[in-house]
Symmetry: D2
Subunit: 305 residues, 4 copies
């Protein structure tokens, strides 16, 4: 196992040169394109680390599943899915036109930006500090790492390049699909995207979802089995931006990517996988991360579809 992963890490990290580090947020553009980390956490707590598993990066869109899990726990499945849909869509993650075209004018799913912004607004905590603290607590519990915190420079960089997300939020409120103070909601959203982790943290996140909500490192039931299953299902159909369909065909494992270069995958009942490599393909998915997961799916027989 250990050697297999080491070989996979070696072979896939080379692929990074085919991608480009995200540039639309200035701070992300500074990421080391050569960094590569791969970690596996099995449901019995065994861990395998390969490459640079100390390399820190921000969760970006992977944070959407943390907040989704929190909202499902706190508000219940019905409330969440009456505010956002659960349908995959062929549109890019920051698309706005569907919100106008389709009635009801609500986001198609919680993993596109508009949906993730609505999910933040559903959290029952008061104010921006209350909400982000609850998200950080959930992230720390899911990843068995009490030190997880927001990278302040990335957060401020996000906030300064947020025209599109601001447009989405104001549109949602104009059609009655979002309630609350938009600056508060966006502030929480930018901070959740800026939570900093390493590949090992990601693998534990995947493992907790894989083990029906039981964190295999701490032994704590962090979320209900139902919440874990919902998150895995949504990741399967919507987790890889508009590359979700292709990922289902080629890899066949529930997963979520972020433009920080991380991908978290969750093999139900078996393991969580965390991989990071900043260079992205055109859809915003880590090139080397995709390669590593395809190899793991095949060589470790992890495909679930």
């Amino acid at each position: 196992m250990k050697e297999t992963l080491a070989l996979i890490a070696q072979a896939s990290s080379i692929q990074a040169s085919k991608g480009s580090v995200a540039t639309y947020i200035p701070e992300l553009a500074k990421a080391d394109p050569e960094a590569f980390g791969l970690a596996v956490t099995e449901c019995d707590g065994t861990q395998y680390l390969s490459g640079n598993c100390e390399f820190r990066f921000t969760l970006q869109s992977i944070s959407k599943v943390v907040t989704l899990a929190l909202a499902l726990e706190e508000r219940g499945k019905d409330n969440v899915f009456s505010a956002v849909g659960n349908s995959p869509t062929a549109d890019p993650f920051n698309s706005i036109m569907r919100l106008e075209m389709d009635a009801p004018h609500r986001p198609h799913n919680p993993l596109i930006n508009s949906g993730a912004i609505v999910v933040v607004s559903l959290l029952p905590e008061e104010g921006r500090e209350g909400k982000i603290e609850a998200i950080l607590d959930m992230a720390r519990d899911l990843m068995a790492n009490g030190d997880i915190k927001v990278n302040d420079r990335v957060y401020r960089s996000e906030k300064n390049t947020s025209d599109r997300n601001r447009s989405l939020a104001y549109f949602l409120r104009s059609v009655g699909s979002l309630k609350g103070d938009i600056e508060d909601i966006l502030d929480v959203y930018f901070r959740q995207c800026s939570m900093e982790v390493n590949a090992k943290d990601l693998s534990i996140l995947g493992a907790t979802f894989a083990c029906d909500g039981l964190n295999p490192i701490t032994g704590k039931q962090v979320i209900s089995p139902q919440t874990a299953r919902i998150v895995r299902a949504i990741m399967t159909t919507c987790g890889m931006y508009d590359g979700s369909g292709e990922f289902a065909v080629n890899v066949g494992i529930p997963a979520k990517s972020g433009v920080g270069g991380g991908i978290m995958a969750s093999v139900p009942g078996r393991m969580g996988i965390g991989v990071v490599s900043p260079p992205l393909d055109q859809r915003g998915n880590s090139v080397a991360g995709l390669a590593a997961l395809a190899a793991i799916s095949e060589q470790l027989h992890c495909r679930v579809l």
Copy 2:
């Protein structure tokens, strides 16, 4: 197992009264709304039948996966997925606007109507008779039933109510995404939709996909393991029309439905499930079929997501 399925059949068949039999094709409107059949075929060949497993209905959209499997075998994955995408979409199955809006102007996936029409056009056989014979042969092999044939009245009824599909086909050819004689292609498409089966046939279809292409009744390797996996992945993200996301959340099994009232599901490595009940919900999925699959997923621990 037998009793569990019988109880599930009983409980879910009652749900049929909440749906309505498809009316947009006159011949479908004649289907018996009370008919209900449920069959399971395991990968070792064991079968469980419940309700009316002799009730015959037409495959409709379920036929799309038969032809997709055939095209993948005959033309290869790369050729197929350069002609149609593999992305789920939030649009209805007969939507045309995406074909104009999005470049390249090709169907988003092979399970919406436009995509299925393109898949038919990819078959290498000459003429309409050649193509439909190849599809029938594939269907017979996949379902271990040499008697499967086209229901002529349904086929003619489809052909007489085909304005939308004709519009899709002409549009596709006008943008260069479809080649060939449109009347030939549509004729094959209407005939494949009109292939008549029963719940047991469907369960074997699901089992053959579940067993990586090996038909557990005949022992024949009908399609390659890769083709079986691709079909399962596409069914997971796109199989239940615009209810695919919700089905992934609630049931979590690769499946494909048809407006004839059938649903075929495929639990990798374990079993195929065939269920039929003509009344449909607003998205075109069998109401009682959905209920049966949700119960099976939970009670038989079949969820894969």
Copy 3:
């Protein structure tokens, strides 16, 4: 006046080299790119001819106003505008997506292809022969030319390259916005597009609309003043494809263009203008024709907006 027009003809005909002859219908691609004709018919019957006013070309989209006038006369304004809208649109002339996106699913106006096809279907005459004869009669009356007929080669060429129009027609019927035999309707449509005229004919067409329906050459009241005004209004907002807004700004006269290279303009109460030069700009409007009309608008003070 005569000299002014001659100078305008000379200066604008040079512009033709900036455009390209239409190629999407093979027969149109054969048009002489150097041909240029300019004719003016005043409301008192005076005519001025410049360039090659014997050069024959097909009306193409200009025929849409002939059939619109006929439908308005035969079916009345209310019937026509309950079947098609009267709103300009920013979409290209052959666009289909609006028909799906917007309810009611009817064409936005009678001068885009989908709308023109619906207008043909509204004609009360029986069968394709009846309808095209009525259109030819109307065309002959409006243009004071009993010899106008269909160019058979162009008609057959249109019919062989008609995938998009066929797609539009089938879509319209699938949503209930078009009734009747589609092959009949399209056949009439292709024939009306293929009616052959010269620049002088066009100028009389424009003059009859300008003179509130009274043909200044024959003295016959061909259509009612109301029909003439409606046609002029629709031409103003929708007559130049998606270049209608720019034409209103730059020229400011009701006009209709066709991909055969003709443009007909109508200065209310004063004159009709016919100009032809086959090379088109990207929107499908004759480049030299646009230049001639801009010059006429300014130098003859013809602007009405």
Copy 4:
């Protein structure tokens, strides 16, 4: 003339009961639904007033032509029309989806909200105070009324119900179609919409555009003839929201409406018309105002199309 107008005023003011006062901005909802004023200013300076021409209302979208005229004068036609298009569109005035769908991602014309916001951003004056002062000066010059100012309560009400406009502005900036400080630009936009006038002011505004930029009351050439013509052309194709096509057919005069209940019309070379009655139809046009303009067009032979 005077009696004709009085009769028209009487007959059309009754129509107001078929409409509803705008409610989406709270302050507008307080408008007197019975108020009706009708004014005509001819190009020789003669004025006819009917009904309540002292009734004050806010310009709302009519202000868009004031700022457009200013931007054309200060920045030139080419600069303005490279930042916004000049094409009519079938979309509602606050639509966003076209901005994402169509490349280049710029507003289709300066009279929809997104376009008007861009036009504000083009003004060369520094800061919000500089811009609004320039707009007020232009408004005062065009309407021969040095007392025109912003209604502060309406302005603040607009600013508090501005989610959609804010969404449009952030979207435009995110795609590079808007530059500058968004809060500044929107503040100017809300203030220009809140400029308060009466029917007489409106009629002078229309007359100045009708007289090629020469204000017939003050004798001052406020804007160039070219700017006046461009504004009239844009009003013809886009002035009445998505009712522009129907207005061209039924009335046939360049005009611009606002949700404050005003409509300004401009008969080239002859007169300007101002009419106000707050109840609106579903498209946002004054019901009684439309009736008055239709009657004037017919009875005073003002139709230009």
